[in-house]
Every structure is written in structure tokens, then in C-alpha cells.
């Protein structure tokens, strides 16, 4: 079989081929033996009985139990993904902030929720509001709590009754998914933005973008392509983690097919487990496949953009004589060429900003200040002339100035 040489082993010669054949047979025998022992045990315990497997061929089982469970799983996963991505972007960018009073609290939140298990977070949301809310209701914050639950948390199905909060299992699962996976995604976002070469940010600052613009127009779009594989594998993790809802009796796929079905159909736990596993594997593998496809696609498009970059970024495109002029770009605006590359028509900018407007750039050591003053003098003669000092006021006194 393996005639071709890989990095780790040569193309096998006659002795190696014989050895490989023997090992193949041995490995096959071992696996078949394990499988056979399992099958034998299944048979001995009567697990191959038709009545244990047939429920999964009945439409009403799928219609009443498994498909609603699957729907609940996908619902929790979808809401969790969207909000966790939001949480991740907000906290990931907050950790990159220039202000310590934003950066440090965000860091504490992210590290805290990353360090404790998801199940504990789900317990936090599921059990603790119920225990704590009566004492809050008696305190000065009672009205505040009621207003908050009625006006905001009721979106997620949270109820308050005479000062006692009841959190539905769905909200608890989604809370845990958001906090845990959002913190992981925050780290992914931070790493993704930090992986973009510094020159990108420097170039963006030097054409006069503010922090917001640098992040939004230059760094994040490039970071998203870098982060895509990590984000998708985290989505797979999130989808698998919805199965923790089983523990707090959220009626998701595992609960429906592994608890409800065996309870109603002769306790067919093994069979149910196999069916559920197949469903999960199918969903997760298709998500991963989608991610691979997406990654391949984005890589392809990045290549084409790289090609256009050679065509003279920063200079207006050359036109043949007599051709109608290109529509003029808006004055002083940054022109995104393609999706990632920023081109700017310097001749169109009314007041080119050669020194960065952001004080961070001027203070940081990596910004080469030595080129500042000559650049300004050479590049902006019109500014120099405008800023020419006024002629000294005529001297009225004959006395010599000291």
C-alpha cells in the first residue's frame, strides 16, 4: 500500500514490506478482537434485540423527542455563538486598550471566566440567582432587581415572582456558553490583532486615521482572516458544550435522545448513545468542513488582492491618453483598495498629516522621530509658507535691543 516515501519513513524494501504486512495483520486482528468482544458482550446482554433499535426507525420518536432536542441544541448554540463573538470582540479589544482602567478590568474578567469550568458557570446562573434574590429583594436593591429582571433579563425567559428569581435552563446554558467561550474568543481576538504586522498600524496612523479607524478599517479585517480557524473550532467546542445542559435538565439533544428515549423505550441507552453520537459527529464535522472551505476561499481571495497591490498603491492609476478621467475620489478620504489594502491618493489630500495625530505614536520608542521635522519641511512647502513667521514689527526706537 505505502509505496511512496513520506518524511518519516522510506519507501519500504522487501523486508520492510513483509514486516508491514505482518503488523497490518496483527493490528487488524487486535481491533477485530476488541470489536468482537464488544459485539459478543452486546449479544450476551441482549443489546441487539430489535425492540431496542426500532424506536430510532419510528417517525414519532424523531418528531416528538429527537428533533425538538436538536432544535433546542442548535438554538442555544446559535444564540451562544452570536453573543460569545460579541463578548469576545468587545473584551478582546478592551484588553488592547491604551487606558489601563479599561485594559485591566477586561483582563481580569477574561482570565476569571477562562479559568473556571463551564459547568460551574452554568450552576452559577441556574442555582444562585434563585438563592440570592430573596435577600436582595428585602434590601434596598429590591426594586432595582425587579426592574432589571422585568425589563432586560425577561428576554431570556428569566422570571421574578415575589422577589424570587427563576432562571430557565436555557438561559443558564446560554449564560455559561457566552461567558466561557466569549472569554476564549477574547483571547483569540487579542492574539489575532496582535499578529498583524506593526507596519499596518503605523501606515494607518500615518495616513491620519484615528485609533478607531485603524482598528476598524485596517487591523480587524485582516485579523478576522487570521482568526477564522480558531473561531470555528471554538464554535465546535461551543456546540459540544451545549450537551452540558443535560446536567441541569435543559431539553437539548442529549437529554431528549439519551434520557427521554431510553426512559420510554426499554432503557435502550447504548443504542441511543450511538445514534446521538452520530448526530453530533455529523453536525460538528460539517461545521469544520465549512470552516476549511471558508478558509480556502479567503486564502484564494487574499492572493488575488496581493496581486493588485503591485499595481501602484498610493499613486493614481495611469490612464491612456484620451480616456475619460476616473471619478475623483472624495477629498482626504482613505480609499480601501480591495478589502484589505489601504491605498490613499496623497495628491487629493488637502492637509496630509505627516506626523501621527495619536500621541501614543509620538511617545512610543518604536516610532522613528528623527524623520519628523525634515519630512514636514520637504513635503509640505505650502504649509511652510503659510506658517512663515511674520516680519518683525518695525523698530521705532533707535536704541539697540539687548
Amino acid at each position: 500500500m505505502t509505496k511512496e516515501a513520506t518524511v518519516l519513513f522510506d519507501a519500504p524494501g522487501p523486508r520492510a514490506r513483509a514486516r508491514h504486512n505482518i503488523l497490518t495483520v496483527v493490528a487488524a486482528v487486535v481491533f477485530l478482537a476488541i470489536l468482537g468482544a464488544l459485539v459478543w458482550r452486546f449479544n450476551e446482554k441482549g443489546q441487539f434485540a430489535g425492540k431496542l433499535w426500532s424506536p430510532f426507525l419510528k417517525w414519532e420518536v424523531w418528531d416528538n423527542l429527537i428533533l425538538p432536542g436538536l432544535w433546542n441544541t442548535l438554538k442555544a448554540a446559535a444564540l451562544g455563538t452570536v453573543l460569545a463573538l460579541l463578548f469576545g470582540v468587545v473584551f478582546g479589544l478592551a484588553r488592547l486598550s491604551d487606558h489601563w482602567w479599561v485594559r485591566i478590568p477586561a483582563g481580569i474578567v477574561v482570565e476569571f471566566f477562562r479559568a473556571i469550568p463551564l459547568l460551574i458557570l452554568i450552576f452559577l446562573a441556574f442555582f444562585i440567582p434563585n438563592k440570592v434574590s430573596p435577600s436582595v429583594a428585602d434590601s434596598a436593591f429590591g426594586t432595582f432587581q425587579r426592574v432589571l429582571v422585568d425589563n432586560f433579563f425577561s428576554i431570556f425567559g428569566v422570571e421574578i415572582n415575589a422577589g424570587v428569581i427563576t432562571v430557565p435552563a436555557f438561559a443558564a446554558v446560554v449564560f455559561g456558553l457566552i461567558m466561557y467561550n466569549g472569554s476564549v474568543l477574547a483571547e483569540v481576538v487579542r492574539a489575532g490583532v496582535q499578529s498583524i504586522p506593526k507596519g499596518q498600524a503605523e501606515a494607518a496612523y500615518s495616513i491620519g486615521l484615528r485609533k478607531n479607524g485603524v482598528m476598524r478599517l485596517v487591523l480587524l479585517p485582516q485579523a478576522v482572516t487570521v482568526m477564522m480557524p480558531a473561531i470555528v473550532s471554538q464554535i465546535v467546542v461551543l456546540l459540544k458544550d451545549t450537551a452540558l445542559g443535560y446536567i441541569i435538565a435543559y431539553p437539548e439533544l442529549l437529554n431528549a435522545a439519551f434520557r427521554q428515549v431510553p426512559a420510554n423505550y426499554d432503557n435502550n441507552k447504548l443504542q441511543a448513545g450511538i445514534v446521538v453520537a452520530v448526530i453530533y459527529i455529523a453536525i460538528n464535522m460539517s461545521v469544520s468542513r465549512f470552516a476549511t472551505w471558508l478558509e480556502a476561499r479567503s486564502r484564494r481571495s487574499r492572493k488575488t488582492e496581493a496581486k493588485t497591490m503591485g499595481g501602484g498603491v498610493g499613486a493614481p492609476p495611469r490612464l491612456p491618453r484620451g480616456a475619460p478621467p476616473l471619478p475623483r475620489p472624495p477629498r482626504g478620504r482613505v480609499l480601501p483598495v480591495g478589502r484589505l489594502v489601504i491605498g490613499v491618493y496623497l495628491s487629493e489630500v488637502k492637509h496630509p498629516v505627516m506626523a501621527p495625530t495619536d500621541p501614543r505614536m509620538r511617545d512610543d520608542s518604536w516610532y522613528d522621530r528623527s524623520c519628523d521635522p525634515p519630512l514636514r519641511l520637504l513635503a509640505l512647502p505650502h504649509l511652510r509658507s503659510r506658517r512663515r513667521p511674520r516680519a518683525a514689527a518695525p523698530q521705532l526706537s533707535h536704541r539697540r535691543r539687548r
Binding site: L8, F9, A16, H20, T24, I120, A243, G273, A277
Partner: protein, 226 residues
């Protein structure tokens, strides 16, 4: 509301839960490392049957929720098929160890495989050219470098494993998460829910944060200079 007395009243029980977590995750860490190394050797081996086994195992275990894996171990294999560990009265513990390490081994295998990808081609070629066979070159040349390249990812796999050990409470093994749930379920436990959460969270941070720092330090120390 921030009354820590109920927390310290149940302190023995909580400590016992964390001891159970430590016992479970320590053994699962060792077993998953061993099993993951075996799996990655299978995945890169010249024998197609072993390669197929490795790929199939990793794909199945990586895409199945851990809750299902552990429930299949405890409810399926243990209760239904009556496969018990002989001479042991804590059979759920052993099934939890086996399930958790089997699940984590898939991730260890993936981490190691990416580590093998970082080893330069010349290393493998040099190993072959001095006459080392597949097993020898893997054991002496490739895997040591691969391990050293992926110490940090292995650390995060292990941290995830410590956190995942809470799921074993679903499979009938009493550890810290189930202790938390038991205490919260007591009707007499009316105040001090938040301190209980803080305590449990702090316990997990005591377990996970030093692990993370240790592996970060080890990664810096052991990184292969190229």
C-alpha cells in the same frame, strides 16, 4: 449575602470534592499523555490500518460531547454491559478516568501532530540517512522535538481537561461540581450562595492558573532554538 460562614461550615465537603477532582485529573493527565502519544504514532505510521484507526478515533472523540462520552462509559458500558473493573469498589471513578483520558487523548494527539509538523524536514531526513527506522527516528529524533514545540498547547489541553473533569459529576463520580450542586440543593442552605461560588471558582483557579504558568515557563525553557 456575603456571609462566608455557610461556606466554611461545608468546607470539609468542598475540600473532599476538590481532592476527588485532583485524583481524577492527575491520573487522566498521565493516561491521556501516554495514549495521545500512542495515537499520534499510529497516525503517522506506515501501516494503513493503524493510520485509519488513529484518524477515526480522533475524529469520533473530538466531535462527540464529553458529557456523552462519560455517560456512555458509566451508564452504557458499566451499567448496561456490566463491564466493571474487577477488584475495585469505585468503578465509576475508573470509568471517569478512562472516559476523560480517552477524550483528552484525541486533543493531545492533535497537539502532538501539529508539533511533528514543526520539526524541520532535514531532521527526519538526517535520521533516515543514518539508518534509523521509523520507530527509532520517531522515538529518538522526531517526538522529543515535537513535544518540546507543543508544551504550551499541551498545557492548555491539560487545563481544559482539569475543567472538563467537572463533567464527571454527570457520570456518577462525586467531585467538586457535584459537591457544589449538593450544597446548593440543601433546603437549609439559604444564605452564602455567592461565597460558595467564589470559593469553588477560587479552588479551580488554584488548580488551573499555576498549571498554566508552569507550562508557560516550561515552554520558554524547553523551546527548541532554531
Amino acid at each position: 449575602m456575603f456571609d462566608f460562614r455557610p461556606f466554611f461550615d461545608n468546607f470539609d465537603q468542598i475540600l473532599e470534592g476538590f481532592w476527588a477532582t485532583v485524583r481524577l485529573s492527575a491520573l487522566a493527565a498521565v493516561l491521556s499523555m501516554i495514549f495521545g502519544t500512542v495515537l499520534v504514532s499510529c497516525r503517522v505510521s506506515p501501516i494503513p490500518v493503524l493510520r485509519a484507526f488513529g484518524t477515526g478515533y480522533v475524529n469520533v472523540l473530538r466531535n462527540t460531547p464529553l458529557t456523552l462520552v462519560l455517560l456512555m462509559c458509566s451508564l452504557g458500558l458499566n451499567d448496561e454491559l456490566a463491564l466493571k473493573f474487577s477488584g475495585s469498589n469505585s468503578t465509576y471513578y475508573w470509568w471517569a478516568v478512562l472516559g476523560l483520558s480517552g477524550y483528552t487523548a484525541a486533543f493531545v494527539c492533535e497537539a502532538l501532530r501539529s508539533g511533528i509538523n514543526t520539526v524541520p524536514l532535514g531532521q527526519a531526513e538526517a535520521a533516515r540517512s543514518i539508518g534509523l527506522g521509523f520507530t527509532q527516528s520517531l522515538r529518538i529524533v522526531i517526538l522529543p522535538q515535537a513535544f518540546r514545540a507543543v508544551i504550551a498547547p499541551l498545557g492548555s489541553v491539560l487545563i481544559a481537561m482539569i475543567k472538563n473533569s467537572t463533567v464527571a459529576s454527570a457520570a456518577g463520580y462525586a467531585e467538586s461540581a457535584s459537591v457544589m450542586k449538593d450544597i446548593l440543593d440543601q433546603p437549609s442552605f439559604t444564605s452564602g450562595a455567592i461565597p460558595l461560588f467564589i470559593g469553588i471558582a477560587a479552588g479551580f483557579m488554584i488548580l488551573t492558573l499555576p498549571t498554566g504558568f508552569f507550562f508557560g515557563w516550561l515552554h520558554k525553557r524547553m523551546a527548541v532554538v532554531r
